[in-house]
Amino acid sequence: MNTTPTRPALRGCLDALPLFIPALPFAFVFGVVVAEAGIPTWLGWSSSPIIFGGAIQVTLFTLIGEGASVAAAVSAALIVGARHMLYSVTLAPRFQNQPSWFRWVGSYVLIDQVFVLSQIKPVDEPAAFRRYFLAAGFTFWTLWMTCTALGVALGPQIPAHWRLDFAAPVLFVSLMMAASNRPDKLGAAAMAMALTYLLAPLPNRSGMLIAVVITVVIMLLSPRKVNP
């Protein structure tokens, strides 16, 4: 299952490109949110390199636009981004046999798509893993910096009724299927969907995180039928 590509950096760039497509309309949504919150475009854009997380940035500026206090907006944005802690735990074993600079730099580009790429395209050899991870991460980074700049500059140029924003759940369904390469993992995905729906009324989308934790615990406690 684990493979070491001959050119991991190139592979990382190429694997990252298609996953960025759904982030494109999101960059324009971000532009609209910044404009509606009445925040100067350069200040709004500065959150891209400082925060580097689409949903976190959008949550922060939506709440600021609604007149929330800094404390409330920041804590809500961080709760929305709390799933990154799960990525941090999950990838911790892969960061063990790595130089410490990679822990500093790698953490910065640990976003949804980079996390899932590291899970569905496992690279065994540490140096190759590092190159693959950083190439994918900084490909996203460069595209996100460019597209959010266009987003805040151009604002609502894409008509909302095209529903390009639907590309995001479509991509994540596709990523979910790629990550569910065993029946028990597919079961975990189905359980997480049901639990997230049940817990959806909880504030700041915290239900999502609780749903994932419950799912992982139940999967762990249930007797294992599949032995790879």
């Binding site: 996953l19 500065s46 800094v70 920041v74 911790a92 640990l110 639907f166 369904v173 299927m177 990550a179």
Partner: protein, 101 residues
């Protein structure tokens, strides 16, 4: 004030990503924990999908077009393993069903 909010959120989100990578850098993972971590990726992706299809108040906003699009994307991903193809299939079905409704 907005600049402070951005900087605080930036520090917080970096800390969340880095925390366990640093905290567990010298920790030997027991096999049971490594097994648990295998379920994180499918669960988080599944939870993200539902999260995107619900309002912040927890109401599901998925009609027939959304459901058809997501199911087709899932099937296309399953049988092709290609995310671009899954994206095209999901969006095409979504727009198609929206058009007919």
């Amino acid at each position: 004030m907005i600049a402070i909010a951005i900087i605080l959120t930036g520090i917080g989100s970096y800390a969340m990503r880095a925390f366990f990578i640093f905290a567990l850098a010298r920790y030997t993972f027991p096999p049971v924990l490594l097994r648990a971590l295998e379920y994180v990726a499918p669960s988080v992706m599944a939870a993200l999908v539902i999260s995107m299809m619900t309002t912040p108040e927890g109401e599901l906003v998925a009609g027939s077009a959304e459901c058809a699009g997501l199911i087709c994307a899932a099937l296309a991903a399953r049988y092709s393993g290609n995310h671009i193809l899954a994206l095209i299939a999901g969006m095409a079905v979504f727009w198609g069903v929206t058009w007919f409704n």
